[in-house]
Amino acid sequence: MWSVIINIELKKGVLDAQGKTTHKALHSLGFHNVKEVRVGKLIELQIEGDNREEVGAQVQDMCKRLLSNPVIEDFNYEIEE
């Protein structure tokens, strides 16, 4: 069994309205040293597979077809046994 953590974030250049608003809210709480906030998504999978390469290829495919939208998002992931 493999544990996969997938991180999905908006591409640089796509306006992150949630990040911007959260940034303002942090400032109003007094955290004036926060310079940027980006809000993304974290997806955890428990997945069976014979080896890391096979699991990696499947995760790539999942991210490209469903879990992320390549028009607006980038993704990266970590696989642990």
Binding site: A17, L66, V71
Partner: protein
């Protein structure tokens, strides 16, 4: 001439579309369940507004893999008309039947109000009954209607005249103030290169009767009807 309205789990404008087409425009129309996979005999398929699959993951992302969507992709490839309204527009961009994506409104609020949009291209089957630069009043109701595409894609949309509607003020001016959701270039609706797939955030089915405050939405449906009628006369 026959229309079909697709019902996904979470669609909530399906009956509004069905009512507008059947009762107001008086055209035969069926509801089509998302698990169906046959679109034979239809001329135009409407993907209605709503919150398909609870908007989980991304708006439209899960609906895009509904069984009916492979039939819709084939239908569109063969030249059938597809009209995606609001969440239907989001499903069309996720399906890559239309370029770009729809993201969270820049103001973060869900916006529900009457909106003026300007017809940018009347040389399409969806806008043939409109006047050049006509201002339409059609309501919007969405939280994720901010149209985004990279510069290359927007340039292509402009060059191919695929931008069909833009948010405008009451006098037809395209201004930042008239842009409710932060859409790039005030884009409210686009079509594909072949001009048989249209997606828009405003709800034309909600402005088809005088009691609703505007009948401008009828123009979209009437344009498709007119185009289909002309085509069938030519075929005969």
């Amino acid at each position: 001439m026959k229309f079909g309205v697709v019902q996904f789990p979470g669609s909530n404008c399906d009956f509004d579309c069905y009512y507008a087409i059947k009762n107001v425009l008086q055209v035969p129309v069926d509801m089509i369940w998302h698990k169906d996979n046959d679109l034979d005999g239809y001329n135009c398929i409407v993907l209605p507004g709503g919150f398909t699959y609870g908007d989980y993951l991304r708006v439209g992302a899960i609906a895009r893999y509904s069984p009916i969507m492979s039939a819709v992709l084939n239908f569109a490839k063969k030249g059938g008309f597809v009209l995606g309204i609001c969440n239907g527009f989001q499903v069309l961009t996720e399906s890559q039947l239309l370029p770009g994506a729809l993201i969270r409104n820049t103001c973060l609020h869900f916006i529900c109000k009457n909106q003026t949009i300007r017809v940018e291209n009347i040389d399409t089957p969806f806008t043939g009954m409109c006047q050049k630069n006509q201002i339409l009043q059609i309501p919007i109701a969405h939280g994720e209607g901010c149209y985004y595409a990279d510069k290359k894609t927007v340039d292509e949309l402009e060059a191919n005249k695929q931008i069909i509607f833009r948010y405008c003020d009451g006098s037809g001016k395209i201004t930042k103030e008239a842009n409710p959701n932060g859409s790039i270039c005030n884009i409210a609706g686009i079509c594909n290169k072949e001009r048989n797939v249209l997606g828009l955030m405003p709800h034309p089915e909600r402005s088809t009767e005088n009691c609703l405050g505007s009948v401008d939405g009828r123009l979209l449906f009437e344009s498709i009807m007119m185009y289909l009628k002309k085509k069938s006369i030519l075929v005969k």
